[in-house]
């Protein structure tokens, strides 16, 4: 019987020829990840285990990105725990402010995760690396601590759900819209405990940036991971970038799926997820009445170069609405540099937008763009839960970067076609 990509990767990492859903395996992990919120707890737990050193100083990656640059004294103390531990352990992949990025933009860019890897990260959006064909999933701090010590972790082999996308993409529709549409169709627990596999001709044509956006939000459907079979696009991305060996896995033709969904993308227009769950999606044309106070463009979902280019295409020669704050966050220093080179940052500043150093800050209501009571934001981030971006009575609408940019200009949720 055939296996899915998820099953093949888990089998290869647990020394088995064959695994099937439901089976419990102990798998070697290639890379483990923590940030300034989750790593301090992991480090505390790690020290109780009774080992001196992490399993591999090159493959324990620590990125303080949530409350950095340090937003207050408490955050500074948390970040310091991470920094001290990285120094004490001699970690080669600790990323300091000024050299860092939002973790899920940074790790692929730096070639620290690759196709066929098993990656666990104490951050739920670790599933982003599924776009490279890696089995990557979020865990808590204690699981991270154990994996830092052992270089392995346990998994229940998940069932897989296949999502096939076909048809012609409409203008301004990209990875964000496909994943929002998918979550809207199956719900925030529609893929609970399952591996999601995104496939079909539309995915094959999607850029790496678009693929990262899709895999990033697998967790918003409850998914354990969001895998995309690696191809020439993947190869072009990892070539010259990958710091470790990698393997391309493909699902067998006779692999078993829990369910298969087929979506005709020609029927999908840009999507907007209404508060307070990512599953509350509607076409942008049905959202145009919603006034906004803030537009946030960036994050591990949509902070990559292609996203910034899209936003700049909409904002070029336009002004942000007088009653709107538009805040733009490049995902990494490298993306930031390229955005400067290409003149995107100038477009943003000319339009009256704020451009920030990479940070997760506003996405989780940490800092750098908190909403007051009753305020409303459109954001290219991944969650619109109650209080996610600030006051419990504020609201977040999720969209792609072009829709967020168009909304920033008009002061209400808008389709890019109304602006460009």
């Amino acid at each position: 019987m055939g296996m899915t990509i998820a099953e093949k990767i888990l089998a290869a990492h647990s020394g088995k020829e064959f695994v099937e859903p439901g089976e419990l395996v102990n798998a070697k992990v290639d890379t483990v990840l923590g940030n300034d919120i989750t790593a301090p707890v992991a480090i505390r737990e790690f020290k109780k285990i009774g080992v001196d050193k992490v399993f591999d100083k090159d493959r324990v990656v620590l990125v303080p990105d949530h409350f950095t640059p340090n937003k207050d004294i408490k955050s500074a103390e948390q970040a310091k725990i991470v920094r001290d531990f990285a120094r004490e352990q001699g970690l080669t992949n600790y990323f300091e402010v000024g050299r860092m990025g939002i973790e899920h933009c940074l790790l692929p860019e730096q070639g620290l995760v690759g196709p066929g890897d098993v990656v666990i990260g104490a951050d739920s959006h670790t599933c982003t690396y599924g776009a490279l064909g890696a089995f990557a999933t979020g865990v808590g701090s204690t699981d991270l601590a154990a994996a830092m010590a052992l270089g392995e972790t346990w998994f229940k082999v998940p069932e897989s759900i296949k999502f096939v996308y076909y048809g012609q993409l409409n203008p301004w529709v990209g990875g964000k819209d496909l994943i929002l549409y998918t979550i809207g169709r199956i719900g925030v627990d529609g893929a609970l405990y399952k591996a999601m596999e995104f496939t079909g001709p539309v995915i094959r044509q999607l850029s790496m940036d678009g693929r990262f956006t899709m895999s990033n939000m697998a967790i918003e459907a409850g998914g354990k991971c969001g895998l995309i079979e690696p191809d020439e696009t993947t190869l072009a991305y990892v070539k010259g970038r990958a710091k470790f060996p990698y393997t391309f896995y493909k699902s067998d033709d006779d692999a078993k799926y829990w369910e298969v969904y087929e979506f005709d993308v020609s029927r999908i227009e840009p999507q907007v997820a209404f508060p307070h769950l990512p599953e509350n999606t509607r076409p942008v044309s049905e959202a145009a009445h919603v006034k906004i106070d803030q537009a946030v463009i960036g994050s591990c979902t949509n902070g990559r170069l292609e996203d910034l280019r899209l936003a700049a295409r909409v904002l070029a020669g336009k002004k942000v609405h007088p009653e709107v704050r538009c805040i733009i966050f490049p995902g990494t220093q490298e993306i930031y540099r390229q955005a400067v080179k290409e003149g995107l940052v100038e477009v943003f500043i000319d339009a009256g937008a704020a451009v920030s150093t990479p940070t997760c800050g506003p996405c989780l209501g940490g800092h750098m763009g908190i909403l007051a009571k009753g305020e409303r934001a459109i954001a290219t981030t991944n969650r619109n839960f109650v209080g996610r971006m600030g006051h419990p009575e504020s609201e977040v609408y999720l969209s792609n970067p072009a829709v967020a940019a168009a909304s920033a200009v008009l002061g209400r949720i808008a389709s890019p076609e109304e602006v460009v």
Partner: protein, 166 residues
């Protein structure tokens, strides 16, 4: 282990931002986190509950972020266990890892009403509703998870393994 307390009911898709808002994640001190447990769902929650009380919720409890601060806040607030129709994956793992008992039981989640007095046998997963004179049985805890619980959490489990292997 016998757990007992009053039920506090919540709906479905209770996310980790509701359980512990990110604005408080600049600390990992359990006592500090406990004060803000469920704050955005019920601002008075921490001051109203008594030690041993039980959170009862719908489907997909603990969805969203991987923050272990969520089960830590619940446990440190004095909640003895969580009963839900289903749990989000990362929360499920985290709860076991830090020693917060959780029970998947759609029937209990349906029938239990706010304030009902509950008695739960953690070993067998039998949930008794003393107020309504009903009992419900939770889905059995997977064997591997039972080993983690028996060892006193994942870190103790791993520490024992490390020690054994020298």
């Amino acid at each position: 282990m016998q757990l007992s307390g009053a039920a506090w009911k919540f709906g479905s898709d209770i996310d980790t931002d509701l359980i512990i808002p990110a604005r408080y994640l600049n600390t990992s001190d359990p006592a500090e986190l406990a004060k803000h447990c469920m704050e955005d769902a019920d601002p008075e929650f921490y001051s109203k509950i008594n030690a041993g009380d039980v959170i009862v919720a719908g489907k997909n409890f603990g969805c969203g972020s991987s923050r272990e601060h969520a089960p830590i806040a619940i446990k440190a607030a004095g909640i003895s266990c969580v009963i839900a129709k289903s749990f989000a994956r990362i929360f499920y793992r985290n709860a076991f890892n830090i020693g917060l008992p959780i029970f998947e039981c759609p029937e209990a989640a349906e029938k239990i009403q706010p304030g009902d007095r509950l008695e739960i046998d953690a070993g067998s997963g039998l949930i008794k509703n003393l107020t309504r004179d009903e009992s419900y049985r939770a889905a059995p805890v997977p064997e591997f998870m039972q080993q983690i619980i028996a060892a006193g959490g994942l870190i103790n489990y791993v520490a024992k393994r490390v020690k054994k292997n020298g």
